[in-house]
Amino acid sequence: MIVKVENVSKAYYKIPVIREMSLDIERGERIVILGPSGCGKTTFLRMIAGFIPPDKGRLVIDGQTVADNGKSIIAPESRQVGMVFQDLALWPHMTSYKNIEFGLKAKRIPKTERKGRIDTILEKIQMVQFKNAYPGELSGGQQQRIALARALVTHPKILLMDEPLSSLDADLRQVLLREILRLQEELAITMIYVTHDREEAFSLATRIVVMKEGKIQKTGTVSQIKEWL
């Protein structure tokens, strides 16, 4: 088991956003958190990333307790997770290459290894020719690929994705979904994907967690959830 969520709760200004949530995620799984806006799915993802501590409950990543009873024990930079943000958060003052390289530099990976890893990931996402381009010079889909490469290049144990395709048109979304799927299978990485789009959830997930008002309503495989919905 790579992620263990035990009775986790979170409230903002005394309004509960996550209520007593528990979930176990196995290594290599593609979990999709599905739910309407405001159901707490992004909060849940940000708790796993370490940006916000849960008020109650315990979070365990790869056997290590990372947050317990309102206290964040391990900082986001040490949790070995990668994340693709809803707004992608590509740094506009850095080229694609520099954006991807940033995490490797922070982890003090030697230059030759850095270059190797970046070239490999750029090839995997078919973006080699855009490595010197700034985010502002890239299309939405290309930016998406760079954000994905940046999240994956540090070899995280878990990849978190917060509605990363929400701003793209339907055709491009399908193309990128297939690419995400291919990359996840190739790298055998655990993925937690947040979305409100059922079709997206059905095409990606090995398991779907349906959330409503801060609670898990139902967990199951794609076919089980299709039937339940």
Binding site: G50, F51, P76, E77, S78, A89, W91, H93, T154
Partner: protein, 526 residues
């Protein structure tokens, strides 16, 4: 850990440099001959003079605010939202008075309306006496204060107008004409900006020392300075400063209650929709004439008077001889001060915007309180605290002036930076954090490059405010450390008019030249 440590150290340093002197000064005033006593306050508030000072201070601040808003909002609207010809030129010209010490305007009007001024020379001595009496009165002080602070309301009106989502106005235009849309949609939307402009104008008028002092209009800030410089009586000086502190706190409470929650963000940066411009149509020439008259009265006339008065090589030569050291010191102190203020502003603005510490509002309140407090009062606090044998190395060096700048102007840096940080999505920083970057790497590799424009703007604004400062510097400058505004102010009593005018022109030039240089660099880069 590194993040919290850095932020706590910033707050600690700021409070230590700026707030502690004021608090110590206040507490000291309760102890007379080593015993607790309210005598100083008792004596002070029994005199009728105190009530007159209170009335003068409040009426000047109130009237200045009222007229500034009355003129500034329409002017800001005309410059930002209409097709008025030469509107960029007018904007730049109207801003000049904000960049220079306001007493320079008072000097210019003195040369124009004084007993031996231009008007007296042209229209006769009797008229000169009349205009001089008018200038050295409430009306004259009010007029100069309005011309000095008008740019604040103009700039804020223009800034807030640019943030209005054009869709909101276009939705209204489906049902009504422009004047109605402006009155019922646009102006209510920018009301927080107008209120903020009014508040800043009120506070700056309260704190103003140069203009009332020059025009001999009795207000609290002048009283504090006089008590210290004439009698060197710390206790009564502090007591005289307390009403200003109380008024400042009341104004800040009003800001907290009514303005803080009304900060509208109408549209994000880089929004594709252009601002809707109001066509003036046939009224264009009428508005052009009115604005030209106003710009002439408020800016061009006083500047021309100074230029004409100083037009002789000997005046400039004399002015340079008397002030070269002061010019260099002004530029050095303002640069060091602005750099320190950018550093404080960066971290305090970050705390305020990201609300990561419990004391975010407390630190902000202290910064704004100190900004609103008259420079003379902060100067008294700094002198009282640092004028000891052990801390003489601070009191007798430029450090005391820099401390004064930090105390008074940190709010500027903090607020400009706090307004810049929202344009950098939190996820930018989080993405760096999750990639494994520590706090300092995130600061220098991600945050600083993304907010560098805001930092440059902060530096420039702080540089200008430090450069034009009179209140604090006048109070704390050690011998041999006077700046140009202080030098000009002290030379006024016993120097020829043409030399003083030349000094004022030099002051204006050294303020404007860095800005022009920066404008050219920006144009070149673009």
């Amino acid at each position: 850990m590194a993040k919290r440590l850095t932020l706590y150290i910033t707050i600690f340093l700021f409070v230590g440099i700026g707030f502690v002197p004021v608090i110590v000064m206040f507490l000291k005033s309760f102890f007379v001959d080593d015993g607790f006593s309210l005598n100083t306050y008792g004596t002070l508030f029994q005199s009728n003079r105190e009530w007159k000072l209170l009335f003068n201070t409040l009426s000047l601040a109130g009237a200045t605010t009222f007229i500034t808003v009355l003129l500034g909002v329409p002017l800001g609207t005309l410059f930002a939202k209409t097709d008025l010809p030469l509107r960029r030129f007018f904007t730049v010209i109207f801003i000049i008075p904000l960049l220079i010490p306001s007493y320079i305007l008072a000097i210019a009007w003195f040369y124009c309306l004084g007993r031996a001024g231009i008007v007296a020379c042209v229209l006769g001595e009797a008229t000169g006496i009349l205009t001089s009496n008018l200038l050295f009165s409430f009306a004259g002080t009010l007029f100069v204060m309005v011309s000095a602070l008008l740019p604040i309301v103009i700039i804020l009106t223009m800034t807030y107008l640019r943030m209005v989502n054009p869709d909101m106005e276009e939705a209204a235009l489906l049902h009504c004409s422009w004047p109605v849309a402006l009155r019922r949609i646009t102006l209510p939307l920018i009301s927080p900006g107008i209120a903020l402009g009014a508040l800043i104008t009120f506070i700056l008028t309260l704190a103003e020392f140069g203009v009332p002092s020059f025009l001999r209009f009795d207000v609290y800030s002048v009283e504090s300075f006089t008590r210290l410089s004439a009698f060197y009586d710390f206790d009564s000086t502090t007591a005289a400063a307390v009403p200003l502190g109380v008024i400042t706190i009341v104004v800040l409470i009003i800001e907290r209650l009514f303005l803080r929650r009304k900060t509208f963000v109408f549209r994000t940066m880089g929004s594709e929709n252009e601002m809707v411009i109001v066509p003036l149509g046939e009224s264009k020439s009428y508005f052009l004439v009115v604005v030209s008259i106003l710009v002439f009265i408020f800016v061009i006339a006083p500047l021309c008077v100074l230029l004409c008065k100083s037009l002789s090589p000997s005046a400039y030569s004399e002015a340079f001889i008397r002030s070269t050291g002061s010019i260099m010191r002004s530029l050095l102190y303002a640069s060091v001060g602005a750099t320190c203020l950018v550093i404080f502003g960066f971290f305090l603005g970050y705390i305020l915007d990201r609300k990561i510490l419990r004391f975010s509002y407390a630190a902000d309140s202290i910064a704004v309180f100190l900004f609103a407090l008259p420079g003379a009062v902060i100067g008294i606090g700094l002198s009282g605290l640092w004028n000891t044998q052990g801390t003489n190395f601070i009191y007798t060096s430029m450090v005391i002036i820099i401390f004064g700048y930090i105390a008074q102007y940190t709010a500027l840096g903090e607020r400009v930076m706090a307004a810049t940080f929202p344009y950098v999505s939190r996820s930018m920083e989080e993405a760096a954090q999750i990639a494994g970057a520590g706090w300092y790497r995130r600061i220098f590799k991600v945050l600083v490059p993304l907010v560098k424009r805001g930092m440059i703007a902060t530096w420039l604004i702080c540089f200008i405010f430090c450069l034009r400062d009179v209140g604090i510097t006048m109070m704390v400058y050690p011998p041999g450390h006077d700046t140009l505004p202080v030098r000009t102010f002290t030379l006024m009593a016993n120097s020829p008019d043409n030399v003083i005018s030349a000094l004022c022109v030099i002051m204006i030039m050294i303020t404007l030249l860095p800005l022009c240089g920066l404008g050219l660099v920006k144009k070149y880069i673009t």
